[in-house]
């Protein structure tokens, strides 16, 4: 028995020097894989209206986003709140069908009916612009629309 006791006495401390490496690896993994935003905003970040009856948008890959708001480049596009951004460019409502059809070609046929268009428009935009977009969406049969809003208090 005395033999065993002797061994236990000399137990060395666990070397924790590599622990930071592991944790840093985790940290870097999260930092690298986190993507903040896919598209650059050409308009100023829209101040979304708030609403209470909202639904979460599911299936991010099936959502295409249309931004409406004030252009960052006022000298080029004017200072109105009704500029439409598709992908990375300021566009007009006439280009919406092409944008939707392009987005459709990226998903499988079976998923097309579940595609949703999210409209992120500024509070101060006018309904006319939204209606123009809506009519164009109707032309290409993209009927599911979500008006992006903040969660507001009751």
């Amino acid at each position: 028995m005395s033999k065993f006791k002797k061994k236990k006495k000399g137990m060395p401390a666990v070397n924790t020097a590599s622990l930071p490496d592991i944790v840093f690896m985790l940290l870097f993994f999260f930092m690298v894989t986190t993507t903040m935003r896919e598209t650059d905003l050409r308009i100023e970040a829209p101040k979304l209206p708030s609403a209470t009856e909202i639904k979460k948008l599911e299936h991010k890959s099936l959502v295409c986003t249309i931004y409406v708001g004030k252009s960052k480049d006022v000298s080029k596009h004017g200072s109105g709140f009704n500029r439409i951004q598709l992908n990375d460019k300021i566009a007009s409502a006439d280009q919406v069908p092409a944008f939707i059809i392009n987005a459709r070609s990226k998903v499988s046929e079976a998923e097309v009916p579940f595609m949703t268009t999210s409209i992120k428009a500024d509070k101060e935009s006018s309904v006319g612009t939204i209606t123009d977009i809506r009519l164009k969406l109707r032309d290409v049969n993209a009927l599911k629309v979500s008006y992006s809003t903040q969660k507001g208090a009751e």
């Binding site: 944790v23 940290l27 999260f30 609403a51 948008l57 101060e124 006319g128 009927l143 507001g152």
Partner: protein, 207 residues
């Protein structure tokens, strides 16, 4: 100088520092979940489409002008009163509902708690809310109006659901979300949705 064996630097607290950083980033990173008022657009009508004739009393007209003022059923109204007015209109139940798809004549609304007035809507499934806005209306106001109307439906659905199944519609939907295969819940949700279908139409804006 005495020669000393250099002591090892204690790296044990390094892990704490790294963890602190990791937790800081984990907490401060917000994945902004997109959420919004969802809407289904109507399909494009064919060229020779003749709109059906709808009785005036079954339409609840909401007008928003370019100064963001509301005109509801030809009377000016504050946005905070819109919900009550919409509830009163939808839940009126003054007549017979839409005939069923199998040709059966429509039934009177047996769950409505409204005034059963002659001059308001016949049945929730006939009650149409028409929102007419101006091209210059602010989008924020438009969404507010849509939101109030949806809230009116939510209130009515919750009330009916509470009466029939002893659970609010919001909770019922949440329960179904957790258990998507449950046919019984699905049937209940369908029943409530059919009792108060959301019929909100967007008229072409005036310019």
């Amino acid at each position: 100088m005495a020669r000393r064996e250099n002591p090892e630097i204690n790296a044990g607290s390094m892990a704490d520092i790294a963890f602190l950083l990791l937790i800081f980033f984990l907490v401060t990173t917000t994945m902004n979940v997109d959420s919004g008022v969802s809407k289904k657009l109507s399909e494009k009508p064919p060229a020779d489409y003749v709109p059906p004739v709808i009785k005036e009393k079954n339409i609840f007209e909401v007008n928003i002008n370019r100064n963001n003022d509301l005109l509801v059923e030809n009377e000016a109204m504050d946005i905070k009163d819109l919900k009550e007015a919409a509830i009163k209109f939808i839940d009126n139940g003054g007549g017979l509902g839409k005939p069923g798809e199998d040709g059966k004549p429509g039934k009177a609304c047996d769950y409505c708690e409204g005034e059963k007035s002659e001059s308001s809507s016949d049945h929730p499934n006939k009650a149409i809310i028409s929102v007419q806005s101006d091209r210059g209306t602010e989008y924020g106001t438009y969404i507010q109006v849509q939101n109030e109307l949806l809230r009116a439906y939510r209130v009515l659905r919750n009330k009916l659901c509470q009466k029939r199944y002893n659970i609010s519609f919001t909770d019922l939907e949440a329960a179904f979300k957790d258990d998507k295969t449950n046919e019984e819940l699905k049937k209940k949700i369908e029943a409530i949705r059919n009792a108060y279908p959301q019929i909100i139409s967007d008229a072409e804006p005036t310019s």
